[in-house]
Amino acid sequence: MIEVRNLTRIFGPIRAVDDISFQVGKGDVLGFLGPNGAGKTTTMKMISCFLEPTSGTATVCGFDILKSPMEIKKRIGYLSENAPAYAEMTVSAFLKFVADAREFKGEEKKKAIQRVIELCALESVYHQTIDTLSKGYMRRLGLAQALIHDPEVLILDEPTDGLDPNQKYEIRNLINKMAPRKCIILSTHILEEVEAVCTRAIIISRGKILADGTPEELKKQSREHNALLIRFQSSMEDPVMEKLEQIPEVEKVEILEPGKSFKLYPERGKNIIESFGVYARRQNWELEEVGREEGRLDEVFRTITQ
């Protein structure tokens, strides 16, 4: 539903977005990861037709962002960074304004507003001025504004930034609930969020895409992917370290607790759980715990973007 082709955006001397291409389909939740200033927001602004690209283009629902921005704006819901809204208006007036601009009329308008009010749990602040809302409510209002026309495509720039853990959980639930029917792009700094909601993640830095895959695929790039965490029942005699290092395909052993608890890193792409099992039985080791690591996204993120 979204197809980005060689999108580039230059601000003066800075190439904010540098020749990036990707596709997102219906049912996908694409997580945009990257350090600050990586070009996430700029890319999202271009897809939402707020900024024009310096070169390259993108299509949304088959419409080109340069040729038919109006058609795209009708089909897209956009929550921009910090979820701005007119401070002097009340929540109800603001949503009515957005519904008006989105060509809702009469009964339909009431229903649309009612729907997002419930969806985003804004009942209690309905008559409050936006000025007086807390950060969590601001985000939810921004989300309500983006969802009012039940868009096919949703672009969310840091939807959970600055929220407390409960609010984050609620927003993620909401995204998960909508995901199968929509095409969603969201940007975030929070890596656990990617695992919680995204079907796919793109890591972007200095305007370029550095990695693109499902969160599982990305985790496989981690050095800790398939590493073994072992813990002996009782403290072992000294040559245990050398013994562990002798196990085939073990690249490195890290001591977590001397004589008792170790972390075994496999050679790249190898799975050492079986060879470790065979070796442990032969040695008659009494193990309290063996755990396999899946790999950590934040580690992948750091190695890729630094």
Binding site: Y78, E81, P84, A85, Y86, A87, M89, A93, V98, A101
Partner: protein, 246 residues
């Protein structure tokens, strides 16, 4: 069209949900009334005539400060608070947004001018005014207000800072008001060729306002105000669209 109407409605109501409207109306009505009846310069009573000339004559000067104050928040505030992203990702064009804001503010100024109606009751109580003059006077005022406003909107779109927008608009409006005054023309004629001085003089708000005020509704004066408004509004649209691309 829907985009235009919804922006217009939002902006117009916006004046009344903030203190801007009330502060503006009170100050405008006070100053306009005071300048008309003030014994020294506002020679309403001295003239011993039932006409509104002393009232209209003060408007160009009043507008220099008051209209930029009405216009300054229109774009600067949107950019500062980031709501411009919400506005321009709604299915409406930049032109619709600019026109919506312009007409909302213009309508608000028209409300302000309408509220000066007690002055009409005063002259019609005191004597037998020339209604044609009053009507053209108000028409001229509203056109002039629109012209100031279009400049104010452009200046507001130039910056994120309302105060900067305000000052730029005050300066631009003063230049256009002063353009026809003899000292300004005299000063200019020392530096530039004569035809340029003529062009500059023809840009003056005052000259065009004077002739409308005298009851002469000429096509060229209407055209002047309308082209000023169109010119600055088009410039605003171009400015905002350019910012999208650059």
């Amino acid at each position: 069209m829907n985009g235009f109407i919804s922006v217009l409605k939002r902006e117009f109501k916006g004046y009344f949900t903030t203190p801007v409207a009330y502060v503006f109306l009170v100050i405008f009505l006070f100053l306009a009334g005071y300048a008309t009846f003030e014994p020294g310069r506002g020679n309403f009573f001295l003239a011993r005539q039932a006409y509104l000339r002393p009232f209209f004559a003060n408007l160009p000067a009043l507008f220099i400060f008051l209209i930029p104050a009405v216009a300054m928040r229109l774009w600067a505030e949107e950019r500062r608070s980031g709501t411009i992203e919400v506005l321009l990702t709604l299915p409406l064009t930049v032109t619709q947004a600019v026109l919506g804001k312009f007409f909302a503010a213009w309508l608000f100024l028209a409300v302000g001018l309408f509220l000066t109606c007690p002055i009409i009751f005063t002259v019609s109580y005191l004597g037998d005014p020339d209604w044609g003059l009053i009507i053209t006077g108000y028409l001229g005022s509203i056109l002039m207000a629109g012209s100031y406003l279009s400049i104010g909107i452009f200046c507001s779109a130039l910056t994120k800072n309302q105060v900067v927008g305000f000052i730029l608009a005050v300066v631009a409006c003063s230049v256009l008001v002063a353009a026809g005054s003899p000292p300004a023309l005299d000063f200019l004629s020392r530096w530039v060729p004569g035809f340029f001085v003529d062009i500059f003089e023809s840009l003056s708000f005052m000259n065009h306002f004077d002739s409308i005020q005298k009851g002469v509704l000429e096509f060229k004066d209407l055209l002047f105000y309308i082209s000023i408004m169109c010119g600055w509004l088009i410039a605003t649209v171009v400015l905002l669209q350019n910012r999208k691309a650059a």
